[in-house]
Each structure stands twice: as C-alpha cells, then as structure tokens.
C-alpha cells in the first residue's frame, strides 16, 4: 500500500509581511494627516520665496482670516495665556505663528510684541513657498 503525504500547506508569512507594511503606511499617513490638522479653522499661510526651513517642535499659534485663534489646535480667546505658560517653562521654545494670508496684521503684530516682551527667544511667521 502506498501512502502519500498530503501536500504541505503554504506558510502564511507573505500575508504577515503585507499586513506589517500596510500598518506602517497607515500609521505614517495618520501622523502626517494630524500635523496638517493643527487648527480648527482654515489656515492658508502667506506665500514667500525667501523662507527658511522650519524645525519641528514648538508651539503653533493659528490665526484665522477673521482673527480667531487657536494654540496647538485648541481654540482660545486669549492666546497669550497658553503661550506665556509655554514660554515661561522653556523660553527657547519656537513659537510659530501660522496666520491665514488674509488675516489682518492688527491681530498678529501686537501678539509678536507681547511675546518678545515676555522673553520669547524665537518667534516665526509660517509661510509657504507656493500657493496651495
């Protein structure tokens, strides 16, 4: 009597690798997407060709076209409270002002002066090299 082994089942390693890759891509896009959503309103920064590269980290103050403000994605009425708290903790924190290109300067310039007076070492205006 001849006995033949049933054919061995194919190992499922290939599917595991696929799932790993898809997971990495998923996490990557989730993180990238979250970085973009740092304001509860639409912010389209002004266009400038001479901007320098922006380092990561710091506090982001978003200013909407109508003057509404948010600090790190949370809407605030007085942005100086969380900003000053952050500066007092670490004065070398970079404060990024991500203002909509049509926001009026009366909302922004007094804030920069207050930040400088409060001891902020680095305050920067966020710009984009090309219009979105």
């Amino acid at each position: 009597m001849r006995l033949t082994r049933p054919p061995a089942r194919q190992a499922p390693e290939t599917i595991v690798a696929l799932i790993d890759v898809v997971f990495f891509l998923l996490v990557f896009f989730m993180l990238i997407g979250r970085m973009d959503a740092t304001a509860p309103f639409e912010v389209s920064p002004p266009v400038a060709q001479t901007g320098s590269d922006m380092p990561a980290g710091g506090i982001t103050l978003s200013v909407a076209a109508d003057g509404a403000m948010a600090v790190d994605g949370l809407p605030v009425t007085d942005p100086m409270v969380p900003l000053l708290a952050g500066i007092r903790e670490t004065p070398e924190t970079l404060v990024r002002i991500n203002a909509h290109h049509t926001a009026e300067l009366r909302h922004i310039l007094p804030l920069i002066a207050e930040l400088e007076a409060a001891g902020a070492r680095e305050v920067a205006l966020v710009v984009t090299p090309s219009a979105p």
Partner: protein, 141 residues
Amino acid sequence: MSQADAIILRRPRPPRALISLVAMIDVLLILLVFFMVTSTYLDLDMIPAVSQDENTASTAPLPDQRSRPLMIRIGADGRPFVRGQPLDDQMLAARVRDANGAPVLILPTGVAQTQSLVTVMDIATRAGAREVRVIRLEARP
C-alpha cells in the same frame, strides 16, 4: 499477517483554520486609502519674527552708519509706499537695491493683510536687504 494485526492508519488532524485575515486586510486598506486621500501636504517654511540670538552676534558686519534706513509703509490695500509714493513690486525692489544695504523698516497699517507684509519682506530680502525690521505704532497710554 492476520486480520487482527492490521495497522490502523489515522489521518493527521487537519490544522485549525486560521482566523480569516482577509477582512482585516480589507479594513486596513480602506483606512490607508482614506488617510492617503484626506492628507494634504503643505511645504511650510518660516520667516523669523523674533530672534533674540541675532542681537548677540558680534561678528555680524555692522550696517553702514551713514546710510539712512529705508522706511516702507504698507497701506490698507497692501500697497507699499516709500516717502508717500506708491510703488509696485519692481519699483520697490529697485528702491531697496538703491538703499545699498541700509536697514529696511516696514510700517504696516493694522488692517493690512498678512500676505502684504510677507510680500514686502520677501521683495526686500530678494533685493539684498540684510536687515528688515517691522515696526508698529502704539497708542500713547
């Protein structure tokens, strides 16, 4: 060999069926496509507004003391003015080049848009201004 000595052959038990991964992969791919489509990529740069370290740099070349600063005003409509004269972008760049490295002071009105200030700073920097400062008027207390 008698009948009683017959060898009993048993099939090995079939391996337990794996939980189907197809459904999970489907969900993952849908999530992946969702995040790929909804993510927008903005190439963001920055223009320093306050940089306390630059004041301590003693090696920076001192601006020519004889050159008077060039004052640029920005009106409510975003147009730059120098000495009361409205300028377009090319004329403004020429004025900054003529100032020959003199400090550039920008005085925008409060109702001007951010883009107008950034545009003027951009033009001044490209025209060779080494020191660009934004000033504002404060109400007397």
